[in-house]
Symmetry: C2
Subunit: 128 residues, 2 copies
């Protein structure tokens, strides 16, 4: 059916709608790119592994829930509406006692387990 | 007074608290850096000017309010919890009928008026 409505590619990216599209934990999904950076949504629960990203900072932005990021010499607590940038090369371990919905911002190609790797490494560049 | 509490630099960045620190419109404030990218908060109201950024994409993330971004061939409406990435070189004009609190993500050094410049160009790299 033809309409006179303009057909544009200008579609908002709605976080809540995107989170409804997956339920698995610890498997970040790409929702947007900004130059060679990616915005990824993740649902996490429990403890991750200690790791670092030697070549890049990594931004954590909490959408829902309460996230703790442990460092070797301290930690940061993030609630919804809060963010933190983990500097490159700094070992960290995200911990979510209950489910947390968060957004990660980092360069394309960064994996969730950094240079540690292992069985909890998620497939990269998965879009929703 | 000395305490046994650990003194760490791990401080969350709280968007609501940061927005309380300024009231002026159309003057983005930097709250964090990720490599050579910056996260900026802005309070906007009314119409901006048509402009583009020839060398970079620009991400808009709405924290509060309803934002419209006009393009030459359409527009996008963004509510709280929604984002959009304006591609490099695409002319756009942000419009906020009522006040909007938003976050911009873009490389360090990008000015709010792009290559158009003019009197509405904000001083860059102002941190809160």
């Amino acid at each position: 059916m033809q309409t006179n409505e303009p057909q544009t590619p200008y579609i908002p990216i709605n976080f809540a709608e995107k989170f409804e599209l997956f339920s698995e934990r610890w498997l970040p999904k790409v929702i947007a790119e900004l130059n060679d950076y990616q915005f990824k949504l993740a649902r996490i629960e429990g403890e991750f592994i200690w790791h670092d990203h030697p070549d890049t900072d990594e931004a954590f932005l909490v959408i829902e829930g309460n996230l703790r990021i442990d460092f070797r010499d301290g930690c940061v607590h993030l609630a919804a509406g809060e963010m933190f940038v983990v500097p490159r090369g700094v070992e960290h371990e995200p911990v979510a006692e209950k489910e947390v919905k968060l957004m990660l911002i980092e360069p394309r190609g960064v994996t969730n387990t950094g240079r540690v790797g292992g069985e909890r490494t998620a497939r990269n560049d998965v879009w929703i």
